[in-house]
């Protein structure tokens, strides 16, 4: 079992898809991950299961990989206490979670926006570029930069889960470049394809952060670090001014109003 623990999760699932299904039962969604280079031991550790669950999970995985091997019953390590299940974020992490809410409101509108673009005669370039501006300025500059420049610095940046987050941010930037290209060329298909891809990517990305990554980082922070991070995040917010988040919140409200009417028509 020891050497399985140190294997990359994708290699394990490729060789034994049953492991993917078992992990899924425990709310550990590694199967659709684009990278899959996390080690099995880290995957399990990061999810902070209670000792009973963790032991049973490891037992089932070992059984699935080595059906012929006599696997001993799960041993429960009660010294490893897991944090209470209710997620309570530290204040700056809480704010990042709240920012996700505004980003998710845009993601929710994307299918309607894409339909609207597809059915209109000429591409509404202004609308596309305004959405791009929200994504680039609010989601990327305002939000992702705090993650990359402040939050991720408090943990091992080489950790696979952090690398996956960086990669997601980059992939997203790539999609948005193509959306802009589509808008310049009036290429509806290019806009549609990349806006939908961005929506799918960010939906999963935000879920991973809210449920797994942020709680994992919070568990490692000392009280002193929580205070320090709070100060740094506030400074970062102050550097862009308090008008910026207000402006983009209004943009989303207006967009919702426009497209909810569109749907009602």
């Amino acid at each position: 079992m020891e050497n399985v623990l140190n294997k990359e999760i994708k290699t394990i699932i490729d060789a034994c898809p049953e492991v993917g299904r078992i992990l899924d039962e425990y709310g550990i969604g590694c199967v659709p991950c684009s990278v899959g280079s996390c080690l099995l031991k880290d995957v399990v550790g990061i999810h902070n299961l209670d000792p009973q669950q963790e032991a049973t999970l490891m037992y089932r995985i070992e059984k699935a990989i080595y059906p012929d091997r006599k696997v001993s019953e799960p041993v429960i390590d009660t010294t490893k206490k897991s944090a209470p299940k209710k997620i309570t974020y530290s204040p700056s992490v809480r704010k990042l979670v709240d920012e996700h809410v505004l980003i998710k409101r845009l993601l929710a509108l994307i299918p309607t926006i894409v339909d609207y673009i597809e059915s209109s005669i000429k591409v509404d370039k202004d609308l596309v570029l305004k959405c791009v501006d929200f994504i680039r300025t609010y989601a990327d500059k305002y939000h992702h930069m705090k993650e990359e420049d402040i939050l991720f610095r408090y943990v091992d940046e080489k950790a696979d889960i952090i690398q996956v987050m960086y990669k997601d941010h980059d992939t997203g930037r790539g999609y948005i470049r193509l959306v802009v290209e589509g808008a310049e060329k009036g290429d509806k298909a290019l806009i549609k394809e990349n806006m939908l891809a961005y929506r799918e990517l960010l939906t999963q990305h935000i879920k991973k952060e809210d449920e797994i990554l942020y709680p994992w980082i919070d568990r490692q922070l000392s009280t002193t670090q929580v205070g320090e991070m709070f100060r740094k995040c506030n400074e970062a917010d102050a550097s862009v001014g308090e008008e910026l988040p207000k402006k983009y919140e209004k943009f989303i409200c207006d967009l919702e109003e426009k497209f909810l009417q569109e749907v009602a028509k």
Binding site: P84, T88, Y89, S90, P91, S92, R94, S222, T223, T224, V226, G227, E228, F230, R231, N234
Partner: protein, 153 residues
């Protein structure tokens, strides 16, 4: 069962599930004097920029590892929200700690009895009056010295 839960008599001297070790000497983590909220001054050097623990008097006697797990690395003020007088002074001192001493964080540690939540209230009011904002955490200790909850508020 009647009367105030804060002063109701409970005897758990029969408690047997005593995990942990009694070996080794643990040093005190206290790095200041005084500690009582009426006696401390927010101008004291040991508060400047620090992480502060505002502890209800009873918590330190209830928690076995108070020094090691909670006091270590912090400066402290202690108070009893049930018995102390002139508690508006406490609120003002919390405000001054945040605005003037520019403390990094505030952790309020209280007992689970209802009257003890008054201390958390004092901390919240002090923090609201302050113009600086800092993270405030609430830790609730059970009567038998267990941690019931620990969260940023």
């Amino acid at each position: 069962m009647s009367g105030c839960p804060g002063s109701r008599t409970i005897d758990f001297s029969e408690k047997t599930d005593l995990e942990g070790s009694e070996t080794g000497k643990r040093p005190s983590q206290l790095r200041q004097w005084p500690i009582q909220m009426h006696l401390v001054s927010p101008q004291a050097p040991y508060f400047q920029g620090k992480d502060i623990l505002l502890a209800a008097d009873c918590t330190a006697f209830s928690l076995g590892d108070f020094h090691k797990d909670y006091l270590k690395g912090k400066s402290i003020g202690i108070a009893c929200p049930k018995l102390d007088s002139d508690q508006e002074v406490y609120t003002e001192k919390i405000r001054a700690l945040i605005d003037d001493a520019k403390i990094n964080t505030l952790t309020v540690m209280i007992m689970q009895v209802p009257c003890c939540f008054g201390l958390a209230q004092i901390a919240k009011e002090g923090a609201e009056k302050a113009s600086r904002k800092i993270p405030v955490k609430q830790v609730v200790v059970g009567l038998e010295g267990n941690i019931l909850s620990e969260e940023w508020i």
